[in-house]
Structure formats: C-alpha cells, structure tokens
Amino acid sequence: MSYRARHAIPDLGVGVGFRVPHYEQVLDERPPMDWFEVISENFMVAGGRPLDNLARLGEAYRVVPHGVSLAIGSVEPLDAGYLSRLRELVDRLDPPWVSDHLCWGRAAGLHLHDLLPLPYTPEAVELVVERVKRVQGTLERPFALENVSSYMTYRASSMTEWEFVSEVAERADCGLLLDCNNVYVSARNHGVDAERYIDAVPADRVVQMHLAGHTDKGTYVLDTHSDHVCDEVWSLYRRAIARCGPVATLVEWDDEIPAWEVLAAEADRARRMRAEVLAGESA
C-alpha cells in the first residue's frame, strides 16, 4: 500500500501561503481558497495576534504547518523545546501532515536560519533517518520532508540528490514535499536533469508539492519566492502531477508579495493545470 494510502493523506487541492499582507483580506472576506500553509515558527508563540489570526484562519480553511527551523540534518541534538512547541501547534491545528526541509541549519550552538543542503552521503542518510523517526514519534502525525534549493556542491557527496532524497524517505518511512521550483533551481545551479529528478522521486510518498518563483542572478539561480512561477517550473509540475497523481499543491510567494488577486490567480492556474493533467490521466 502506498504511503499516502497508509496514512489517508487527503488531496487538499491548491492552496497558498498565509502571509502578512493578505491577513486582513483573508480573515475578513474569506476569499475562495482550497487550503493554507503557515510557517510553523511564526505561530509557535505564547499568545497575541499570531494565535488569534491562526484561530480565525482555521475556522474558515484547512491549515497545514510548514517549518523552517527543525534542522533535521544538523548533527547537533534535536531541540526538545522546539519539538514540544511544534507539537502544541500541531495539536492546535490537527493537520493531515506536517512538513519541514531536508536540510541542516544548526551548528556550534548557532541557528543559521538557512536551509542548507546536506552532503549526499550514507552518513547523512543515517543521521536524518534516525531523526525523522524521532520527530514522527513526537508529533504522531505524518511528516514530510521538502527538497531544498542549493547553491553548493559538496565534495563528499557520493550519490545524486534524488537518490539521497529517495533513500531518506524510504528508510525513514516519511512523506515528501516535492518543491518543483527547488528541483529547477538546483538542477540549473548544478547542471543536472530536472526531469530525471522528478521521475526518480518515490511518487507514492509525495504528500504535497510546492510551486514558486525564483530570481536568475546570471551565474546562478536564487530561490527567492518573489515572482510568478516560470514556464519551466510549470512543465515540471505537469510532469510531477502526471507521475504522482492528485497531490495537494501550494503556491509560495514570500518576497515582493503581490495583491491577493494575483496570488489567487497563480493558484487558479495550478488548479487548472492539475485538473487537465489528472483528466488526461483518467481518460
């Protein structure tokens, strides 16, 4: 039985990230949107407006938390305080899954607040697998790891990124959040085949997909979430949906955030594309 079937992972449709410039409009007008993703850490707080807003959002929409600070690939011990607060948030939202990134970000007692890539080595696989199991045990919820954009190539890597992602997911028995833009950005930066990456990821473990824009800096591509999804990423998304089936999708836009209507239109485009591909599959 597939990972999604075993955990009854629902297809939530197409959603967007819940971001400050849209708070008032979303909470007051409740515009049509399939679901919302929130950055977990922004709501792991004691009280105040963040929790009020989250409660109001949850009254109208399905909400899934997506973390940026778990640092699953850091050698330093998992932060028990962090996990405990994440568990509180999960209990508050009752989401169908929880996600964070397949990366590291803590070392020497510091938080670098970045999604740093791991070397693709057996040692890193072992570390992440063990930690994912502990996270899943704490959260008691399906847990998904997102592939990150990267700008560096480790000398130590002994496998491809997709082999690394797949091995971690299979051995940890966790879900995947397939970020099509991150696949594109990393493929451009490292000169690898993005379509081959999409084709190699274990499809039955993909519980969610991300779409976003990026910035071409000339000698590299930076994952900025500051623009429309580009044509090449839309093509990868088509391929991913054709391969994985009806998987919840989320459009991220975190910098130079446009009017709600622009963001909603981007989600509409994803929704139409997804429906077209799925209709073609079933025809």
Binding site: M44, G47, G48, R49, D79, W104, E123, R155
Partner: protein, 270 residues
C-alpha cells in the same frame, strides 16, 4: 571529513561578515568542502549563503528596530548589525528572538553607547516585539473585584497582563518611534526628557502610554509582586503628597489601568 566537522566549518564560514572569495585562507577552506561548477568556484558558492545570512538577519533587525535604523541611517545601522551579529550570533530557532540582546549591546558598546537616545529607541522597539506575542491572561473580572472586602485589599497582589512592559527612558523615544512607524516627519532627535512609558497589547493592537513618575513606580512595585498596601506606602513616602491626595491619585490610576487592560487578576492573601 565527518558531517559534524563539515557543519562546524560551514557555520564559521557562512556567518563571517567578509567575502570568502577575497580571503585566500577561507577560499582554501571552501575548496576542501565544495567542488567547483562550470560557473562558480567553491568560494563563490559559499559566498551566496554567507551574503544571505547577513541580509536575512539585517532585514529582521531593521524591521524590529525601525526607529533606531532611521536615527542611525542605513550604513551606520548596517555597521551596528554586523557588530551585533558577531557578538550575539543567533541561537534561537526563531528570528523573533534575534534582537533580544540589542538594547543592552547598544547601551554598552561604543560608539553607540555614547548617544543614550539610541539605547532608549532599542529598548522601546524591543518592548513592542515582546508585547506582540506575549501570553494572554483573562482580563480582570470587575464583578469579582467589587466583591473583595475592603480589609483584604492591603495584602492583595495585583497581577499584570504578561504583555505589559515598563520603560524608564532618558528621552521620549516612544514618541520618536511612533512618528517613524507612522510615516510622520521628524525634525530631528528629541530633546532629553525623563519619560516613564508602558508598552502593552491592548484589546485591538499594541499600544503605549506615558505615565507620571509616581504611577510608574507603583506599577513597578505591583509588577514585582509587592502587596498593594505596601506598594502604595512605598510610593507615597517618596511622593510628598498627603495620604488623601495620594489615595485619590491611586484610584484614578487604577481606573485607567483597568480600562486599558493592564490588569489580569487580584490575588488575595490566604
């Protein structure tokens, strides 16, 4: 090289304020960790992350300390941010905590410590950050307050809402901050004037008010857990007011504080 060694080495390289490309020693370290692509050397690859580390944290500090940044100007604020991040690199999982030590850093580190307005601005800004997501306690139950017998009040303790922050300032930095945050023109730095300010989360938004010195002192006693009777005696003793006049003031202060939502509950002595 072990994964732990790689992560420690990268953490050192990526939080450095200076370019890796321009430093032969650190570029050599980068060569040991990363391999070149057809467009980027290892040092150039790591500099992408290093630049993002600084820009990300600078953005957070700028947003959380906007009036301080305005007062200093962009270049000087960037210099402050670099020095601060070097002295207090981020240790919390949340960027919300990044500026926790900045008020003390500004107050104690030259050249910023020579201008006391800067420390006042940093303290006011940080008080707003803390009040924003402080825990919420139920508001004071006025019906329960009315039922408290008169003889129980002197030994009662008044508990403040967790968001209440008290600031004794040398300048009206709160007014300066308010102007900057609301896009109002400021003629220049405010003249020094002792200011007693409370920052708190009101029913709808973050707010601040300025108190007279005695009211501020009384609120401080209560925040520290001093029973009401003793708190009033201490503040009255230093005020020089008659007992009757002081009691009248205390009554007015409590009415105002209750209306503003400062108070959470009254704890009676057993």
């Amino acid at each position: 090289m072990s994964l732990a060694s790689m992560q420690r080495a990268l953490a050192d390289l990526l939080r450095s304020p200076d370019s890796i490309v321009a430093d032969a020693g650190r570029a050599a370290l980068a060569e040991g960790l990363a391999s070149a692509s057809d467009r980027l050397t290892p040092a150039m690859q790591l500099d992408i992350y290093r630049e993002q580390f600084f820009l990300r944290h600078l953005d957070v500090l700028h947003e959380d300390f906007r009036s301080l940044a305005h007062r200093l100007g962009d270049d000087a604020f960037e210099a402050l941010a670099k020095a601060y991040l070097n002295a207090f690199p981020p240790r919390s999982f949340t960027l919300r905590d990044l500026g926790a030590e900045l008020p003390a850093f500004v107050a104690s580190t030259a050249p910023w410590s020579t201008d006391t307005l800067l420390a006042d601005l940093a303290r006011v800004e940080w008080a707003f950050v803390e009040a924003f997501d402080a825990a919420s306690e139920p508001a004071l139950d006025l019906a329960a307050v009315v039922s408290i017998p008169e003889e129980a009040w002197p030994s009662a303790r008044l508990v403040l809402q967790p968001s209440v922050r008290r600031l004794s300032l040398r300048h009206p930095a709160h007014d300066y901050r308010h102007s900057i945050r609301n896009g109002e023109p400021v003629a220049g730095p405010p003249e020094a004037r002792a200011s007693f300010v409370v920052v708190f989360r009101g029913r709808l938004a973050l707010e601040h008010i300025e108190l007279e010195a005695e009211a501020f002192a009384l609120l401080g006693e209560l925040a520290g857990g001093t029973p009401l009777g003793e708190a009033c005696e201490r503040v009255a003793a230093s005020s020089g007011a008659t007992e009757e006049a002081f009691q009248e003031k205390v009554g007015a202060w409590f009415q105002r504080w209750t209306a503003l939502g400062f108070l959470s509950r009254v704890e009676l002595a057993r």
